[in-house]
């Protein structure tokens, strides 16, 4: 009896030990690369499944995929990093967010792979320099990028008698007045998740103070109390007070704003090119919408383009480093893979070998704008460190709720941003 009991005790202890080991155990099979990403739409998941199957066919390496929804990914990947349990490869946003995890020594540099795959000849230079180089080393491959423009409903503009798209701020304001006179709210904005509002701040600051000043603000060497920032906010305030935006933007998501434009409740929305993927799925096609560039506000200021770059990075402690590098090289250097992915995501490819004809006319137009833009700037929450962008994004929400006391909001933002930069 005692023997049985002792055995039970041993089994129990062993069982408990195994349970204890389970959460931290790294399951690794040869020829397998683990990946986590935020492309969880049906089309994206299907597309990646096909791309990973092609990769497996070419290299014999299996890709073990664990996708997480876009907003939850921001937390999920941090939890995995905190537990020392990052996947071999994961998607990440190029810019300050990537810089942050590089400074935390969580990423593996890919300079050797970059050279071996001759990516200098493949990746578009403006994207390559801005999105992949950190502290003098390459860390990220741009898997696709987007451009933020003012997307509009063609029929609504036609009905209001607008045939020429505005090139200047005055023309833009006149266009808004014309739309209001026709009974249509000019601009839809869905800032429930805060980030959709940032494009307004980005463009107004870039078009008035220029890319160099904006880079300083993003790096913490300029202040939110500067007249440059106040001027950008003042222009935004004028639009809000003129009734040019849909009511209570903080109550709606960006997809709600897209729906408002599609239905004709509003005429246009400032959004990234991913909106084309959303609209196309909703049977609102190229024939129904187009976009124009954010107008010039101040003469002589370079007309920078704004957008995010979706990247793929390798964890510093990846279990299958060789396989991970092969996967990254495959993902960026194959024009057919890039063309397929760009089409699914409504994105632009950073691979210059991709035939522009594979894009829709609207996306060709976007590509043309980016190519001719004097600078490509990351949107606010990718351009400034995460702790600072949290402060700024909340300020935009507060401003949209009640744009009354802008100076006080900017003072508070500067205090919080300065503290965040110090940490």
């Amino acid at each position: 009896m005692f023997k049985t009991t002792r055995r039970a005790l041993m089994v129990s202890v062993l069982g408990s030990g195994l349970m204890a080991a389970l959460p931290v155990q790294q399951v690794f099979a040869g020829g397998e690369v683990t990946i986590s990403h935020y492309f969880t739409g049906d089309l994206g998941l299907d597309g990646l499944k096909q791309i990973f199957a092609e990769f497996n066919k070419e290299t014999g390496i299996t890709v073990k995929d664990s996708p997480i929804g876009h907003e939850d990914f921001k937390t999920g990947i941090l939890v995995r990093a905190a537990g020392g349990n990052l996947p071999d490869v994961f998607s990440y946003w190029a810019g300050a967010k990537t810089q942050f995890i590089i400074n935390s020594k969580s990423l593996h540099p890919i300079d050797d792979m970059w050279k071996a795959a001759n990516l200098d000849a493949i990746v578009a230079k403006p994207v390559a320099d801005g999105a992949t180089l950190y502290n003098g080393h390459r860390y990220l491959i741009p898997f696709g990028y987007h451009y933020a423009g003012i997307f509009y409903n063609k029929k609504i503009l036609q009905k209001a008698g607008i045939t020429e798209m505005p090139k200047t701020w005055d023309e833009f304001k006149a266009m808004c007045d014309k739309l209001k006179a026709a009974g249509v709210t000019p601009i839809a904005l869905g800032s429930k998740n805060r980030w959709p509002a940032q494009f307004w701040f980005d463009y107004l600051l870039l078009r008035t103070a220029g890319p160099d000043y904006r880079a300083k603000l993003m790096a913490g060497t300029a202040s939110y109390t500067d007249p440059e920032v106040a001027q950008a906010m003042e222009l935004w305030k004028q639009l809000l007070e003129a009734g040019d935006f849909t009511k209570t933007p903080n109550a709606y998501d960006w997809t709600d704003a897209a729906d408002q434009v599609q239905r004709g409740d509003a005429a246009m929305t400032l959004m990234g090119t991913w909106i084309t993927g959303y609209w196309n799925t909703n049977k609102f096609t190229d024939a129904d919408y187009d976009f124009f560039e954010f107008p010039t506000v101040k003469d002589g200021v370079p007309r920078a383009a704004v957008g995010p770059v979706d990247g793929l990075v390798i964890a510093a402690n990846a279990k299958n480093m060789e396989g991970a590098e092969k996967l990254l090289a495959f993902m960026i250097s194959k024009p057919d893979v890039q063309a397929k992915w760009a089409s699914i995501q409504g994105a632009l490819s950073a691979n210059e070998k991709v035939d522009p004809k594979t894009y829709t006319p609207v996306m060709q137009h976007a590509l043309d704008v980016v190519k001719h833009a004097p600078a490509f700037a990351f949107n606010y929450d990718l351009a400034t460190p995460p702790a600072v962008s949290e402060v700024g994004l909340s300020m935009f929400s507060q401003f949209l709720d009640n744009p009354g006391d802008v100076k006080s909001m900017l003072d508070q933002t500067q205090t919080a941003a300065a503290a965040a930069f110090k940490q």
Partner: protein
């Protein structure tokens, strides 16, 4: 023989204790440890900062706002379901027609996860086609489009209403159990002596429901401390931190601003508050036991 039994008991206890140790005790001590560091959640390099994170709490306006919201949240999240639960229990106990059907209907929300409840109420509060604005428009003959969750003055209270809707069923069931424990002859004496309904409830029923009330209030307090998920799904602490509670503030600092050390310090403060409440709860339970003895 007795020794064998003891060993079996120990053997059976080891797996759950191991799970508890890994999932509760270890993270708890990890939080204490990280609260005295400047860890950002990603980096392997971090350093000891003593009590700096705890001192920072006193200079953080968002913490103050979150603390005030937590007090409002806890008070309302306890008082409203307790009051409504008591009223419903008394109505159902008075044998209104269809009492058992009403009991099931009112209890149903507690079977749903907070995420599901949160999403249902996000739809109810939707400005254009939500049930609440539609009802207001019908009643007033106007055209209500109020953004309940997007306005700083209403966001927290809108979530409290959703939370109360879910928790009322639990309070009701506990009060109903308490009501069945009241001797029928006592109520009969009330009738014979000509006591009104109000007098009966105030002077007989409510005092005898004290043990049930202690349980309802204590459970309400503990559940309200765990009330993170419904806030996360409904407002995420917004708009612009107006519905942040301490749990939400801890989450934002740790996972959005990557201030894991500071977030851990907030979690330690929250833990101490929970500990004080649980301590008070056990003291009350002991008193209840004494009443029954």
């Amino acid at each position: 023989m007795e020794k064998d039994k003891t060993l079996w008991r120990v053997a059976m206890l080891i797996p759950p204790l191991a799970v508890f140790g890994i999932l509760v005790v270890w993270p708890l001590f990890s939080s204490f440890y990280y609260s005295i560091t400047n860890w950002n959640g990603f980096s392997a390099d971090y350093r000891y900062v003593g009590f700096d994170n705890f001192l920072q709490i006193f200079h953080d306006p968002l913490f103050t706002r979150a603390a005030v919201n937590t007090v409002i949240w806890m008070l309302a999240a306890v008082i409203v379901p307790t009051g409504l639960g008591l009223v419903l229990a008394l109505l159902i106990d008075s044998q209104v027609p269809g009492a058992s059907v009403f009991k099931s209907i009112f209890y149903l929300p507690i079977c749903l996860s907070a995420i599901v409840v949160g999403q249902i109420w996000v739809w109810i509060y939707q400005p254009d086609w939500g049930l609440l604005n539609t009802a207001i428009s019908l009643v007033t003959g106007g055209n209500s489009h109020f953004a309940w969750l997007a306005k700083p003055g209403t966001a927290l209270y809108a979530v409290i209403a959703a939370w109360s809707w879910q928790q009322t069923g639990l309070a009701m069931v506990i009060f109903l159990a308490g009501l069945t424990a009241i001797p029928a002859d006592l109520i009969e004496v009330c009738h014979i002596e000509g006591a009104s309904s109000g007098q009966r409830i105030r002077q007989v029923v409510l005092p005898l429901l004290r043990p049930a009330t202690v349980v309802v209030v204590a459970l309400g307090l503990i559940n309200s401390l765990k009330g993170f998920d419904i806030l996360y799904i409904m407002t995420g602490g917004g708009p612009f931190n107006s519905s942040d509670t301490l749990a939400m503030h801890m989450y934002n600092e740790s996972f959005k601003k990557y201030h894991m050390g500071y977030g851990s310090a907030i979690s330690v403060v929250l833990f101490l508050i929970a500990l004080a409440i649980i301590f008070a709860y056990f003291r009350q339970l002991r008193k209840v036991d004494e009443i029954y003895e």
